[in-house]
């Protein structure tokens, strides 16, 4: 393309740090499998600098007939050390695009847009925080945990999945948090059952005052309802099919109650982190929700 086309973000900054997303072509530092996930690290210093826990990036994928980017939560950024200026995502291979990404190697270049969306708001006071992650949603929770711990918070983590190998990084969870609890549907790791089964215990033990979540929509609904019942504020990173990721297409909406009315807000710019108490979970119609309903119908 013409050299006249300079994305704003890649222009030199005269006045220090700027806000907002960038578009850049970033080198892959590495892709490695871990459990049932892949971790992909990109050289993206400007994005790493701007990123906040809960934000995401979108990647262009070069697979048959795909015209849209794939969104991924930021799992970590490094500002110093040998990996300074890098940004990591953690993903599972579900379809064409993620399998293509899993096949990338060091030095490949990816077309990246980010950081996008509203991250997790951090509490003003040093209150104990309960972080709940499902599947790959654990990765951004660990990013948030490191940030909160660095700011002096007590952090307790609950991670859940169907089975043990779908729980991301138990080692890191134990290392960073005051307590780490795991649940699996099949009982292969930690408590058999769902994350919501253990929240009462953990919260009582930890003196939880704020709840954060990232994972499948049905899990977020459960955690939000639990938090509301406990009178705790909650912030949930939601996931909806996104065509643009930049706020221009209106495909990614989530129903939210505001001033007594239900409004559809764009998960990509007004979220992905939303106040769990405000989301109208009953009206959410994500594919995961629909699947859950079908499973329940079936028995």
């Amino acid at each position: 393309m013409s050299s006249n086309v300079t994305p704003r973000g890649s222009e030199p900054k005269a006045h220090g740090r700027e806000e907002g997303p960038l578009r850049a072509h970033c080198e892959v530092l590495g892709v490695k499998p871990s459990g049932s996930f892949w971790s992909l690290t990109l050289v993206a210093p400007a994005m790493a600098e701007r990123a906040r826990p809960g934000q995401f990036i979108t990647l262009a994928v070069d697979v048959g007939g795909a015209t849209l980017r794939r969104p991924f939560s930021i799992a970590s950024v490094s500002q110093q050390g040998p990996r300074a200026g890098t940004l990591e995502i953690v993903f599972s291979g579900v379809g064409q695009g993620t399998h293509w990404l899993a096949g990338r190697s060091k030095h490949d270049v990816l077309d990246v847009v980010g950081p996008l969306g509203r991250g997790f708001p951090l509490p003003n006071r040093q209150v104990p925080a309960l972080l709940v992650g499902g599947g790959y949603g654990a990765a951004p929770m660990l990013y948030l945990a490191r940030t909160l711990v660095a700011r002096g918070h007590r952090v307790d983590i609950v991670l859940g999945a169907r089975t043990a190998e779908q729980i991301w990084n138990t080692v890191e969870a134990k290392r960073v948090a005051s307590s780490a609890t795991f649940t699996t549907d099949d009982g292969s790791l930690g408590t058999p059952g769902r994350v919501t089964d253990v929240l009462d215990d953990v919260a009582a033990r930890a003196g939880t005052e704020v709840v954060y979540g990232c994972g499948p929509m049905p899990m977020l609904a459960g955690v939000s309802r639990w938090a509301a019942a406990m009178g705790l504020p909650s912030q949930m990173a939601v996931e909806e099919a996104m065509a643009c990721g930049t706020g221009v297409c209106m495909t990614c909406v989530v129903p939210v109650r505001r001033k007594g009315e239900r409004r559809n807000v764009r998960a990509c710019v007004e979220g992905p982190v939303l106040n769990g108490a405000r989301v109208d979970w009953d009206a959410v119609r994500s594919p995961a929700m629909a699947q859950r309903e079908l499973d329940e119908e079936a028995g």
Partner: protein
């Protein structure tokens, strides 16, 4: 079709003077006429794919585009359809948004002032479910300043005609267009659906009713079903197909309408992603070209094709993009 230079807003400062690389640009006349108003260049945004303009302005100065076409607005705010609202398909995507928007008052209060302040040529897109909706919307715009043109999105269901889309038949097309064009003095573009037996007849009806031009094409009606669950993949059941997959249909529609009505300005769109897609549309008969779905895959898409077009013309010694319009070379 009336022509009045008074209509043309003062050239937006942003689109002529700014841009880090203005000095390096080759000397090509990119200006085009769109039914009586002049655009600095032919690249515009497709309604509903560019938000308010502010979102993409984070990536580049959107004032460099020929115009920003706003998301269709309605009389009242609308919450639209339930999710899922999109499905990726081979070479394209389906969407079913259901015209979610904050209503005309919010647009006038929040979005237009930003465009005006930045000097960005604004084309407002109106949608309604009755002829009266279109009339009321047009009346509300009558004394509003800073609007370059109006696009009447008549590819929406007409509740007074068993829910059939206005632009599916000539009479409702005429009535809806007349409601807008009869009320306003800025140019009115009628946005047509390709899901018709004869799009030239609809375009002719729109022109008769006072449209200064037509925007071709809106999405094609499509559907996808989850094989496992049997549920439609869209909350709205059916949705609109857009993206590169539909480009051949769009080029054909632009070509047909241009052959039938050579003087009618056309905003061509449907799958435009690359510089050569823009050239193809202009050769088929488009006066201006809108980029839609491509912006989702690449927030810089509009700017990239604009700069690509400038370079393409310069390399070939074509001095005026307007000369390229309709230059398809038919056999025989």
């Amino acid at each position: 079709m009336t022509t009045s230079s008074a209509r043309t807003p003062a050239p937006p400062a942003a689109s002529t003077a700014s841009g880090p690389s203005a000095a390096a640009e080759p000397d090509v006349d990119l200006s085009v006429d769109l039914g009586g108003v002049t655009l600095a260049n032919p690249i515009v945004t497709a309604s509903g794919t560019f938000g308010s303009g502010r979102e993409i302005d984070q990536f580049f100065d959107v004032g460099r585009l020929g115009a920003v076409v706003a998301k269709s607005i309605t009389r009242e705010p609308r919450q639209g359809l339930p999710t899922p609202r999109m499905v990726e398909t081979s070479g394209g995507m389906l969407n079913a948004i259901g015209l979610q928007n904050s209503g005309i008052e919010a647009w006038l209060a929040e979005d237009l002032p930003w465009l005006r302040e930045r000097g960005i040529p604004a084309i407002v897109s109106l949608a309604g479910n009755t002829v009266d909706d279109f009339r009321v919307l047009a009346e509300r715009l009558r004394d509003v300043e800073g609007i370059l043109a109006v696009e009447a999105n008549i590819s929406c269901p007409n509740v007074e005609d068993r829910g059939m889309v206005f632009a599916c038949r000539t009479d409702p097309t005429r009535e809806a267009v007349r409601a807008v064009a009869g009320t306003l003095s800025v140019p009115v573009l009628a946005k047509l659906t390709p899901d018709v037996t004869d799009i030239t007849a609809i375009a002719a009806a729109a022109r008769e009713a006072g449209a200064s031009g037509v925007s071709l094409i809106n999405t094609l009606l499509g559907m996808a079903i989850d094989p496992e669950t049997g549920r439609p993949r869209l909350g709205g059941v059916t949705g609109g197909l857009s993206g590169p997959a539909i480009k051949p249909v769009a080029v054909r529609a632009v070509h047909q309408v241009h052959q039938a009505l050579p003087d009618l300005p056309i905003v061509g769109m449907g799958g435009v992603t690359t510089t050569t897609d823009v050239v193809e549309m202009i050769r088929a008969g488009a006066s201006a070209v809108a980029v839609g779905t491509a912006t989702f895959g690449n927030p810089m898409a509009t700017l990239e094709v604009l700069e690509g077009l400038r370079a393409w013309l310069a390399e070939r010694g074509i001095e005026r993009v307007a000369d390229l319009r309709g230059t398809v070379r038919l056999p025989g």
